[in-house]
Symmetry: C2
Subunit: 230 residues, 2 copies
């Protein structure tokens, strides 16, 4: 089975959580928009009436959108999503990560998702202050306590939620380097988990490949220095 992943071509964005899992699983996939362009994405998406937005994954006749649902689908086929009721534990953590991702995006688009950042800089500055001061620590404190004695979130090995927590922390470090450096020592379990994910052989190879798009200011995690601070 070759999977077709469809997502906006020039960014990591939400597609990256899917890419990381496919790479870590060693699954073959085509990153279709990077091959065929965003016009092809728009044309293809029109055919899937229950898909609201990219990313989505096409596997034969099955089409799945929403990051957490794609990860659930892949884990049900290939593992690494927990066993038995632990499946729900992994998925609930994934949705909490998704909540942080949405908040991180809203920091630079607090009042108009359809407007440019440049048109809402004053509001973004206010949103960023609370996100940096209150929200990042609240979430990282939570993940710090949620990590199991194994060093992974759920069970004795990595799951897709660990990969997603890695991506979240890397994104926050890119967008808010000063703030993240200031509180790095507060979350040693999180720091160790992120390092372990980075060192997984499949992930290490992926991160050094051309398939890994660099963070940039069109994505979810954007480094606007005026929004960072200790």
């Amino acid at each position: 089975m070759t999977y077709d992943l469809w997502y906006w071509s020039p960014i990591q964005g939400r597609g990256e959580f899917v890419r990381l899992f496919l790479e870590a699983l060693g699954q073959t996939y085509r990153d279709r928009t990077r091959e065929d362009g965003d016009d092809a994405l728009m044309a293809d998406m029109d055919r899937h009436r229950q898909v609201y937005a990219p990313p989505y994954l096409v596997a034969g006749d099955t089409v799945v959108s929403q990051v957490a649902t794609i990860l659930l689908f892949l884990a049900d086929r290939h593992g690494r999503g927990g066993a038995g009721d632990a499946r729900y534990a992994v998925q609930q953590i994934q949705l909490t990560i998704a909540d942080v991702v949405a908040e991180a995006h809203d920091v630079h688009h607090p009042v108009g998702v359809g407007d440019y950042y440049e048109d809402q800089k004053a509001e973004a500055a206010r949103a960023a202050a609370q996100f940096r001061t209150d929200r990042i620590p609240a979430y990282l404190d939570h993940f710090e306590g949620a990590i199991s004695p194994s060093g992974w979130l759920v069970g004795e090995g990595w799951t897709y939620a660990d990969l997603s927590l890695f991506q979240l922390v890397e994104g926050l470090r890119y967008a808010f380097p000063t703030r993240m450096a200031a509180i790095a020592d507060d979350h040693p379990n999180v720091g160790r988990l992120v390092a372990r994910v980075r060192d997984l052989p499949e992930i290490a190879a992926y991160l050094q490949s051309a398939r890994r798009i660099p963070f940039n200011e069109d994505g979810i995690f954007r480094h606007y220095p005026e929004l960072d601070g200790a």
Copy 2:
């Protein structure tokens, strides 16, 4: 099995999506915070290190949080979540509904989730304008096209996603009555689905019971007249 639902006591909020499914399934549950108070919720939640926020459901030794994951858990046990790969279709729609719910909340809290609405009214007015004009139609157009020939979202009978779409539309009608009335005719499939959910015997009985908390301005869907408009 009696389920224990834990959620903030005086609001529908995100807990309502779980209540609606438990009620429609005819499952016995205890709405624990309404029995024992918010202090009991805070004390209980401290025991569950992987739960970031209410609502969460306790079923014997299993604890599940995040609305969509709770609904998935219940559907895996009791049905009404789609069969085979349709399970992913139902779940992805649920997550799109969750995205709208989050946006509806952020309209009255655009720059500071920890601050009061009264401290961000100017920003909220700007956020509300785009939410009313662009976002509500975009999402309702999507759901209108996503509904199957059966009149339900997925398959031939109702699933938890249909219940959640009902709650979403009812919430938007409460919060933005002028706007929702202005565009009501644009989404006939959605209107019929909402009416069918309201008429399900278990839902009709629930809505008339004291268990259904009225919408109010402490919840997600808040009616601030200054944020509504045609």
